[in-house]
Structure formats: structure tokens, C-alpha cells
């Protein structure tokens, strides 16, 4: 192939570097299917109204996480950093953090500073509660303002567990049991998009229940163009609302990995019972969520939601011939994967591979297998990267792939349709505004799946069988 410079370009697309032969690697990670904890903590913290996430580490961490979230949402993402230097790495980051807290309240005046650690500050061994107490004692934290923290060493877990840890810290620092029960339920939506959080709130409202959804990034990272730069957009769960979660009747935690920890702590700390459900993605995922709300609230499911559910079943019925036997491969985050796999098998699709870099554990695998059976390849943790995923695909070809933007290399290389879902999505819009959760989200997923499958059929059909009506 000749390129613009006239140089002879060898026919090596990026991932032509991937050999088909599967070989176990003992150490190397190629093209990760996860990223580090702090970015998840930063994202969760953005879901508190008036909160400024703070990265306790080198300047680069903060810059990278902000860039990643900015690319994903195409919205400003604000966060501060302790700007570690050589000195801090020798003598500890206490001075940096106290100075940072002082400066942040002086310049940016947030309601809350949500500190997360990094690999650097963890290895140094900074004691965050002690530093925050010291800042408090020295009067660096103005009255009514809060500083919360979570530990997110990058050498443990993944971005998903980072999200879980920060959400748990919200409970630890902010939730209170006043002794007076409130007629509301807590919903922890998990590491999902702002559009999903909006949809989850809407469902609870339709059910006629009052709720506190936290964290809630809707209206924070998908705000409108107002002609002004807002350091703190309108969205986010307020500190007062999070405080009140200690008085709620029930917590519904959506997604085992991202939300269960906070729900459990809320039970321990404030005696709020909880239920952990899978993410409400697809028919049965949403059914379970709505049914839990119904039982808790002693309410019946309104006609509006039943209609939407009926529409989902209707569309699947109309198009089920196109789903039957289609082979899917998925890479992404555990909570999403579990619910997606359930939904896809409900639509009569066959699951070939499920891969996540997050060390999700045996339970995750069992969760997948209850829908797929034994023949599906499920890989997680070390070695479960996109290189591995690509090799698996080379060994048995799926009809479509689910994954984030990084999967597009594989999709292009193998010429397989891709449905973008997960984090990060750098090359399309929509995830900010349209949910994949709830019945509406199910409809959107069906549309996305059908679009790629039918576009492919249209592209490949010989002229005589190129169909108008499908």
C-alpha cells in the first residue's frame, strides 16, 4: 500500500502484531482491559454536588485521569493534585496535602474535597485520616465544609474497585443515622454513565418512591452549554442527601463490585438493610430492580413502566430471527458484563468470550456461567487483557463484539461489528445522554445490536438478496 509520502507501507495494522497461537504469559500485560483505581475514585467523587476530587500523588496521575474523563465525556473535569515532589516522596505527603486543602478552599471553594491516594502516596505510607484530622485541627477546613478520603493504591483492584472505595467513603464520612427513619430508599447506581443515573432516578420516581441516588454524575459531566464555565455544575448528590442515607429504609446496591461495599457499610454503620442486585441492564436485570422497589415500597408497578417493558419484549419478538445463534464476545467491567450476558442469552445469542482485567474473582465467573453454561471462556485479572481477547477471537470468530473504544482496533482488524459499551468511549457520543439501563436502555441496546448486525448483512449481501424489508 502506498501512503501519502510515497513510502511503501507494510501491511501491518496495529493488531496484526497479535499472533493467533495462544500462549500463557507469566508477567507481561498487553493492551489492558482495565485501568487503575484512582480514576474510578475521581469519577465517583464527581457525583457529589460541589465536590472537588483531589489526587494525592504526582501531578501526572491527576492530569491523566482528568484527560481520560474529559475524552470520555467531552466535558470539563475538575480535580486537584498534591503535586508530589522528590521531597514529598522522602518525607511524606502530609505537608503537600495540608497546603493543598488550604489552597483549594481558598481558591476553588468546594463543599467537599474528596481525596484519593495513588500508588506513590500508598507506598510512602501517608496516613490520610491523620492528615485530614491535622488539617481540621489547624483550622484549614472551613466550617460546614468536608474533606473525605479513600485509599486507592493503583496496584490493587481496578478503576471499578476505585469507584467502589470512594462510594464507600461517602458513607463512612457523610452518612448519619439520626434515629428518625425517612420514607426513602438509597440507590447506589454503580460505575455507570450519567444517563444511566438519570434513568435509574426516573424509574424510582415512576414507582412513586422517594430516593437518594449516590453518587450521581448526571448534570455534572453531561451538562448543557451555558456560555459559562462552571467549576461546580448543577448535578451531583448533595452532602445533605448523602447524610440522610443513614435514615433510609433500604439500600439497593446495583452491581456487586462497584456498589456492594458501600451498601454493606451503610448497614453496619447506620443499620440500613440492603439488597445487592446486578445492574439493571436488559429485561431481567431491570425486572429485578423494579421488583425490589415494588416490594420495599409496597407499591404496584405503574402502567408506564409496564408499557415500556412490553415494548422491549415486542421488539425482541419482532426481530428474534436476527438474534438467534449469533455469537458474541464481550470485554469490559464485571458488573456490566454480568448483566449484559444475561440479556444477550435471553435474546438467544451465544456467548463465546467474557474478559475483564478487573480481578473480579470466582463469584463473577459463576455469575456468568449461570447464564452461559460451561463452554463460554471467562477470563479475569492478570493476563486477561485485550491482547488475550484478540487471540481468543482469532481462534473462534464471533459475529459481534461488545467493548469500549479500544476494542475498535480488534473489530477493524478482524472485520467484526462492534457495539460500544463501557469505559472509556473516546470516539462516539451518546453514552452521556442515552442509558443502557432500564427498559429504555434495553431498547437502546437492542437498536445498537440490530444496527451493527443488519448493517453488516446489508453490506455483505449479494445484490439479488439485498433486502428492503428486514
Amino acid at each position: 500500500m502506498q501512503d501519502a509520502t510515497g513510502l511503501l507501507k507494510e501491511t501491518i495494522m496495529i493488531l496484526r502484531h497479535t499472533p493467533q497461537q495462544l500462549a500463557d504469559r507469566s508477567a507481561l500485560t498487553v493492551n489492558p482491559a482495565k485501568t487503575c483505581q484512582p480514576v474510578g475514585a475521581m469519577y465517583a467523587a464527581l457525583g457529589i454536588h460541589g465536590c472537588l476530587p483531589h489526587s494525592h500523588g504526582s501531578q501526572g496521575c491527576c492530569a491523566y485521569h482528568r484527560s481520560a474523563l474529559t475524552r470520555h465525556y467531552k466535558d470539563p473535569v475538575m480535580a486537584t493534585t498534591s503535586s508530589f515532589t522528590e521531597g514529598a516522596s522522602v518525607f511524606g505527603g502530609q505537608a503537600n496535602l495540608i497546603e493543598a486543602i488550604n489552597n483549594i478552599f481558598a481558591i476553588y471553594d468546594p463543599e467537599v474535597i474528596a481525596v484519593h491516594t495513588t500508588c506513590l502516596s500508598e507506598v510512602i505510607g501517608d496516613d490520610l485520616p491523620q492528615i485530614i484530622n491535622k488539617a481540621q485541627a489547624e483550622g484549614k477546613i472551613p466550617k460546614g465544609k468536608r474533606v473525605i478520603h479513600t485509599n486507592t493504591p493503583s496496584f490493587k483492584g481496578s478503576h471499578v474497585t476505585g469507584f467502589a472505595s470512594m462510594t464507600q467513603s461517602m458513607v463512612q464520612y457523610l452518612a448519619e443515622n439520626t434515629g428518625t427513619k425517612l420514607n426513602q430508599v438509597n440507590v447506589i447506581p454503580g460505575f455507570v454513565e450519567p444517563s444511566d443515573m438519570t434513568e435509574i432516578k426516573r424509574i424510582v420516581r415512576e414507582m412513586g418512591l422517594k430516593s437518594v441516588v449516590f453518587p450521581d454524575t448526571s448534570g455534572v459531566v453531561n451538562g448543557p452549554l451555558t456560555g459559562k464555565f462552571h467549576m461546580y455544575p448543577r448535578g451531583g448528590t448533595t452532602v445533605g442527601e448523602i447524610r440522610s442515607t443513614g435514615d433510609s429504609r433500604l439500600t439497593v446496591a446495583l452491581g456487586k463490585l462497584a456498589s456492594a461495599a458501600a451498601a454493606k457499610l451503610l448497614d453496619r454503620k447506620c443499620k440500613v438493610p440492603f439488597e445487592v442486585l446486578d445492574l439493571p441492564i436488559g429485561l431481567r436485570g431491570t425486572d429485578a430492580f423494579i421488583d425490589t422497589l415494588r416490594k420495599t415500597g409496597g407499591v404496584s408497578v405503574p402502567e408506564s413502566l409496564m408499557t415500556q417493558r412490553g415494548q422491549v419484549v415486542d421488539v425482541i419478538t419482532d426481530m428474534h430471527q436476527y438474534f438467534y445463534g449469533k455469537k458474541a464476545a464481550l470485554v469490559g467491567d464485571p458488573d456490566h458484563l454480568t448483566s449484559l450476558v444475561q440479556f444477550l442469552t435471553d435474546m438467544d445469542m451465544e456467548i463465546l468470550y467474557v474478559v475483564t482485567g478487573t480481578p473480579a474473582g470466582r463469584k463473577f465467573e459463576e455469575g456468568i456461567r449461570q447464564y452461559t453454561g460451561e463452554k463460554t471462556v471467562v477470563e479475569y485479572g492478570p493476563g486477561a487483557d485485550m491482547f488475550r481477547f484478540h487471540q481468543l477471537i482469532k481462534n473462534e470468530r464471533p459475529d459481534l463484539i461488545f467493548g469500549n473504544s479500544y476494542v475498535k482496533y480488534i473489530a477493524r482488524d478482524e472485520d467484526i461489528p462492534l457495539v460500544r459499551v463501557g469505559f472509556p468511549i473516546y470516539d462516539r457520543v451518546g453514552h452521556q445522554y442515552f442509558p443502557v439501563t432500564g427498559y429504555r436502555g434495553a431498547l437502546r441496546l437492542i437498536e445498537k445490536i440490530l444496527n451493527v448486525l443488519l448493517d453488516r448483512q446489508d453490506r455483505d449481501a449479494p445484490e439479488e438478496s439485498f433486502e428492503l424489508v428486514m
Partner: protein, 463 residues
């Protein structure tokens, strides 16, 4: 001016308002929403475009994940640089050390891809846990027979500039062990062009037409063998001087190669860069061809630029970029479009850079080092700019304010270097500043109302 934190005041200057004392080269204030990155980031962006080497990030997964194919540095051949390799250090290695995992990873990596060289980036915790990266690299180098170069880029060990330095040292280490290939009498190295959107190719083509040999480009469309024989060139032409001057100095000392600082951005600077190289060789043929090249290119693009200027005359711009040398060229290029620069700043500029910016900018221009979004947005509001030039984190801030934007960083989609690049730049600025979308921005409504109110006060008919 807007309210600024005391500690930041010395890093901001408004031309005409006070004597010029801008402090820079200092670490960011703890707690600021700095747009800056770290040492690792500096090393990674400089070495990244070397396409036939593997780049192994030694540390927890994040550093590798966030730098996976985020820079549009194009390659005309292998694309190993676009993959992400990491040792993905976990708790066990943090406790017991990561040397074994590094050794195993490097071995697996080199066995799988057979690259020309390997770069190993040491991230924050590697130094703290005491891994001897140097000796692991030396061992693998010996076993595999390819250069395995450690890059000391622990994030906290300074600023992005220190990362550039570490990258320069890594490049320097590769040099000298050449494996043949001829170098003509007019041989140069291009330093500090990263082939974003194919820019190196544009520049190389100019030199080809001039009869000048490009021995290597560091590091755009980079190849290990070219870098190895780069010491045989007779001139180093340095763009992005912030990152590459250190390497040019080392090469001057070790190999006696002189260097010149240039910019390939904008008409004057591109022409001056090419003339400077031609004058250096002082060959009538080269000089003739350069004059011919510049003449025909300028004639080709000038009419189009004038058309853009008609539309853009009188607009105002803010510039916030990584290196300040780039800012000089931008100020000049915008002038061709009739656009005045009213805010200009960089992440890593030094004193002389800012002094020079002060000279070329008009009265009232705000000059700022290491700014943050709050400051920047307030300056933009105060100066009422129509365009911001910056990088990934600045883009949405401008857009939210209803202001046009041009990416002059990693995410540029069009080549902005050379004469062709100037035309692309004009097109990009025009398409953003003149976009009909701004008609729907509340900011423009407010401005229009404000304008009408002023006009009425002045007794003039509102248009």
C-alpha cells in the same frame, strides 16, 4: 484583573500594567487544578513515536493505560508504538520487588515482537520499592542482543521537562552503534517533531526538494536504526526546543554537531527554518531550490489565507500550550489571520520565552505560566476571546463558554506544520470560530444584548 491567589500572582502578567517579572520554572502549587503532567508523561510523549521499538511501562497499570495510543504520531511502517505494554505491578511486587516481573515481561515482549530496541519506563513507585531497573535492562540487552534502554521517569522527580531530559538521554544512549547506511553531505536530523497527523512527512518532503538529506527524525515516524546513525548528520534542526534542546547540546558536545532552533509553524517561521538550514550548508543549489520552494508554496497558499482573513479580521484569541516556543509561532500565525492574541500562556515556558512573548504581544495581553481552568476561563471572559488554542483539557472549557477551539496538541486531526499546515490551521480556526453553533450559545446572546445596550447608550442605532 480578576482575583488571583497571592501565590499565583507572580506567574501572571498583563502587558503594560507593571514591570515584567514573571516567575516560572517552579513546581505547581499543591491543590491547584494544574493542566500540567509529570516526568513520566514527558518521557513517554517524546519517545512514543519510535515505531519499531517496544515501550514497556514498569509500574501499576494506570500509566500504561492512559498513554495507550493517545498521541496521533503516525508511522509509515511498523506500529508497535501504538500498543500498550505494562508490567502491571501488583501488591506482591510492591512488597517483594518487581525486578523478576520486569525481567519476565521484557523477555516475553521481545520474544513475541522481535523489536529493534526496548524502552523501559520506570514510574513513581519503582524507585521507592528499590528495583534495579538498570541491571535488569543490561541483562536483557545482553541476552537478546538489542538495546534495552531504561528511562528514569518517576513521576514525582520533577516536572514534564525532566521527563524530556530523561527521554533525550535515552535517545543519546542509542546513538553511535550504527549498522551502515550512507549519509550525504547535506545531512540533518529533525529534532522535536513527532509526526502528529503526518507533519514530519510534510517537513521531510520540503528537505527532499531542497536537496537536504534527513538522516533521522527524533522522534516522528522514528526508527531505531536511523537514530543510531543520526550522529553522522552535520546539523541538528530543533523544533519543540523545550523537549529536545538537551539532546542537541549533548550531540554538539559529543559529536560536534551544531544545532539551530526552528519552528515549522506558520509562514514566516517555516520559511525561516528552511532558509536557516539552506544558509548553513551555503550551497547555491540548495539555496536556489529553497527559494523556489518557499516562493511557490507561499504563492499557492496566500490567496486562500487572505480569504480566511477577511472573515476573521478583528477576532481575539487565547493561547495555552505546553511549550512556549510553540506559542511564539501561534501568535505570528494568528496575526496573518488578523486575529490578536490577548491571552498567552504555557505549562513549561522559561524566563526568556516569556520575555520574548511580551515583546511580540500587544499592550494588555495577559501572559501566564501554569494556569488553571478557573483563571483561564475568567481571563477568557474578561478578554472576550473568540478562540482558544490548547490541548485536551482546555477544549471543553472553551466550548462550554461558547468559544471556538483549535487543538494544537496531541489531538490535532490535521497537520499544522509547514505551509500546507498553515492552510489547515486557517481552515480549522475558521471552521470553529465561524461555526453557526455559536448562534445558539447563551454567551453570544448576552454579548449581543450587551452590544445593543451600549449602542443605544451611545445614541447609535442598534444594528
Amino acid at each position: 484583573m480578576i482575583e488571583i491567589l497571592d501565590e499565583r500572582k507572580s506567574q501572571i502578567y498583563e502587558k503594560g500594567s507593571q514591570t515584567f517579572e514573571l516567575s516560572c520554572d517552579k513546581a505547581s502549587l499543591a491543590g491547584s487544578v494544574s493542566q500540567r503532567a509529570c516526568v513520566f508523561c514527558g518521557s513517554r510523549v517524546v519517545l512514543y513515536p519510535i515505531a519499531d521499538a517496544v515501550h514497556l511501562v514498569h509500574g501499576p497499570i494506570g500509566c500504561a493505560a492512559y498513554t495507550w495510543d493517545i498521541r496521533g504520531s503516525l508511522s509509515s511502517g511498523p506500529e508497535l508504538h501504538r500498543l500498550s505494554f505494562s508490567t502491571d505491578l501488583r501488591e506482591t511486587e510492591v512488597i517483594y520487588g518487581g525486578e523478576e516481573k520486569l525481567y519476565a515481561s521484557l523477555t516475553e515482549l521481545i520474544d513475541t515482537y522481535r523489536p529493534k530496541a526496548a524502552f523501559v519506563y520506570a514510574t513513581c513507585i519503582v524507585g521507592l520499592i528499590g528495583d534495579d531497573v538498570q541491571s535488569v535492562c543490561a541483562r536483557v540487552e545482553k541476552e537478546q542482543g538489542i538495546p534495552v534502554v531504561p528511562v528514569h521517569s518517576e513521576g514525582f522527580r520533577g516536572t514534564k521537562k525532566d521527563g524530556y531530559r530523561a527521554a533525550c538521554e535515552a535517545l543519546f544512549r542509542l546513538m553511535g552503534n550504527e549498522d551502515g547506511g550512507s549519509v550525504g553531505p547535506f545531512g540533518i536530523n529533525i529534532l522535536g517533531d513527532f509526526n502528529l497527523a503526518g507533519e514530519t512527512w510534510i517537513i521531510k518532503e520540503y528537505y527532499r526538494q531542497m536537496g537536504v538529506d534527513v538522516v533521522s527524525c527524533m522522534t516522528g515516524d522514528g526508527r531505531v536504526d536511523e537514530i543510531r546513525r543520526s550522529y553522522r548528520a552535520s546539523l541538528n534542526v530543533v523544533q519543540c526546543s523545550g523537549s529536545m534542546t538537551h539532546l542537541a547540546r549533548m550531540m554538539e558536545q559529543a559529536y560536534g554537531i551544531p544545532f539551530k532552533r526552528v519552528s515549522y509553524f506558520g509562514i514566516e517561521d517555516t520559511a525561516e527554518a528552511l532558509y536557516m538550514v539552506a544558509r548553513h550548508f551555503d550551497d547555491p543549489g540548495v539555496i536556489d531550490r529553497t527559494e523556489e520552494l518557499v516562493r511557490s508554496e507561499v504563492n499557492r497558499i496566500y490567496p486562500a489565507i487572505r480569504e480566511y482573513r477577511t472573515a476573521l479580521e478583528g477576532k481575539k484569541a487565547g493561547i495555552y500550550v505546553g511549550g512556549s516556543f510553540k506559542a511564539f509561532s501561534l501568535v505570528k500565525a494568528l496575526r496573518h489571520l488578523g486575529i490578536a492574541t490577548v491571552i498567552v500562556g504555557s505549562q513549561t515556558g522559561n524566563r526568556e520565552d516569556y520575555e520574548y512573548l511580551r515583546e511580540i504581544c500587544a499592550e494588555g495581553t495577559i501572559i501566564v505560566d501554569d494556569t488553571n481552568p478557573l483563571e483561564l476561563s475568567q481571563f477568557m471572559m474578561e478578554k472576550n476571546v473568540d478562540l482558544l488554542i490548547g490541548g485536551v483539557k482546555e477544549r471543553p472549557i472553551a466550548y462550554k463558554m461558547g468559544i471556538g477551539f483549535c487543538d494544537h496538541n496531541h489531538e490535532r486531526k490535521l497537520a499544522l506544520a509547514g505551509f500546507e499546515g498553515m492552510l489547515n490551521f486557517c481552515r480549522e480556526v475558521y471552521s470553529s470560530v465561524m461555526s453557526p453553533v455559536w448562534k445558539f450559545s447563551p454567551a453570544r446572546h448576552r454579548q449581543a444584548q450587551l452590544g445593543r445596550a451600549c449602542d443605544e447608550q451611545d445614541g447609535r442605532a442598534a444594528v
